[in-house]
């Protein structure tokens, strides 16, 4: 809590002198990490509104509890840990996930925590193509239309010559299959 202690213990003149240094390192931490944290969170929630909300929460937590004596590497790792738990808490509260399925979420984040904390997550683009590449062709097709190309149900149905209801079933099954393939890898 280095920033807070400075506010209480020093007299007025040294407050003004020492503040900009602390603020600058906070600014640097923010600029260096906010985009990566945002992208990571976005890949967990899939929409801008929640990604912005949760990214804000992560950095506000960081301001309140950051110890500026830590080195840069471990702060970055710490930020990603905070991001993971923030997302997990959000899913649990907002989507009312039962506690046992939460372990699954956390397990994904806690795998080799020290290493994973230092590395940025894989480029989502490459990983997505790998996942889709292993699916049966109709599953791959529907997911490509719906997610990579962002087509509506109607557009997808037209291109695949299915009813809209069929597409809804197909996208569900495709996602389920893709998730199973990923899980069986880990």
């Amino acid at each position: 809590m280095a920033l807070r202690r400075a506010a209480v213990q020093h007299d007025d003149s040294s407050l003004v002198a020492s503040e900009p240094v602390d603020v600058q390192s906070l600014q640097k931490l923010y600029e260096d990490n906010v985009r990566a944290i945002y992208r990571f969170i976005y890949s967990k929630v899939g929409n801008r509104e929640e990604a912005e909300d949760l990214t804000s929460q992560v950095f506000m937590k960081a301001v309140r509890s950051m110890d500026s004596a830590r080195d840069v590497q471990s702060i970055q790792g710490w930020l990603f840990q905070v991001a993971r738990t923030t997302v997990a808490d959000h899913w649990r509260e907002y989507y009312r996930i039962r506690a046992d399925s939460l372990d699954d979420l956390l397990a994904d984040g806690w795998e080799a925590p020290a290493e994973q904390a230092r590395q940025l997550p894989d480029e989502p683009d490459a990983r997505a193509h790998r996942i889709l590449g292993r699916l049966p062709s109709r599953y791959r097709e529907v997911l490509t239309y719906r997610f990579l190309l962002n087509y509506s149900i109607k557009e997808t149905a037209e291109r695949m010559q299915l009813t809209e209801a069929n597409v809804k079933v197909l996208q569900f099954r495709a996602l389920k299959k893709a998730a199973e393939e990923e899980l069986s890898d880990e």
Partner: protein, 299 residues
């Protein structure tokens, strides 16, 4: 074909959800499955609109990986997960404000919105602390640099809507607390008078592009209140003899501190507080920002 569902009237609606993978259409999904497909579909559609999905009831262990895969694929295309520069600018300001506000006293119930909302300061000691915090705001601006501050300020104007909404709700929950008229990060400092032009014990009305208010000078310094009656928005007049703000429309009256006066015919909400500071021999007020030109937002 399949009569297990129990009657012809079941076949037609389920027919549209027949398994597209099964050529002879023998497998019929149950009602529970239809619900799942619809629920997932709604989730995916929210993501496509970049909106927070509606809460959809408890997700089971089987559901979770499916939804997470949907979120992941949504983020996968190059550029899909890029943050909005306006969001980044606004968050940066919030963080700096949180970092530079001292927490000398614990946050009060009356100001739950953010750490940089300053509590009402009846004592001189707290007033001094408030002036220190205001000086720190100057330091922060000089660190940012004028150009970046302007770009960030423009960005905040666009994105601040959601935050202001929160603070409006908070203000309405605590009507007796003299909440701040202009939320932090939503306003701009405007100089309204020379310090020397306002003797101790006097009240002066001021006008900015967006506000009408009154500045009052006491031994402890300057305070300011909104000059608009909280009843039906008539402009108040300062009554120097009675030391009240009087409303010409319905006889409403407020004390010097902005509270509804006892002699007022009706009890009105207190006048919102406007932040002040003294700099360069001028008295400044924290006024609302005028309309923002969004077409020139810097990245």
């Amino acid at each position: 074909m399949d009569t297990q569902d129990g009657g012809d009237n079941f076949i037609a609606p389920f027919d549209q959800f027949s398994d597209p993978d099964d050529a002879d259409g023998r497998v019929r999904p149950e009602a529970r499955d239809v619900e799942q497909y619809v629920r997932l579909h709604n989730y995916i559609e929210s993501l496509r609109l970049n909106r927070r999905p509606q809460p959809m009831g408890p997700l089971t262990e089987q559901d979770v990986p499916v939804y997470r895969m949907a979120a992941f694929l949504r983020a996968a295309p190059a550029g899909a997960a890029e943050p909005d520069p306006a969001f980044l600018g606004a968050l940066r300001l919030r963080i700096e404000a949180a970092a530079t506000t001292p927490q000398v006293e614990p946050p009060t119930v009356a100001a739950p919105a953010s750490p940089s909302v300053q509590p009402l300061a009846p004592s001189a000691a707290l007033d001094l602390e408030r002036r220190r915090a205001e000086r720190r705001m100057v330091t922060r601006r000089s660190v940012l640099g004028a150009g970046l501050a302007a770009a960030a300020a423009a960005a905040v104007g666009v994105v601040a809507g959601a935050q202001i909404q929160h603070q409006i709700q908070d203000a309405q929950q605590y009507p007796n607390s003299n909440t701040a008229l202009v939320p932090p990060e939503a306003g701009v400092w405007v100089a309204v008078a020379a310090v020397d032009s306002i003797p101790v014990g006097t009240v002066r009305r001021f006008t900015t592009d967006t506000l009408i208010g009154f500045i009052r000078r006491t031994d402890a310094g300057f305070t300011a209140l909104s000059g608009v009656c909280t009843h039906m928005a008539c402009v108040l007049a300062w009554n120097d003899r009675e030391r009240t703000y009087d409303c010409p429309c319905h006889g409403g009256r407020f004390t010097e501190d902005g509270a509804s006066a006892n002699v007022s015919p009706v009890s009105y909400q207190p006048l919102p507080r406007i932040q002040t500071k003294v700099e360069g021999g001028q008295v400044w007020v924290y006024s609302a920002r005028g309309p923002v030109d969004t077409t020139t937002r810097a990245g």
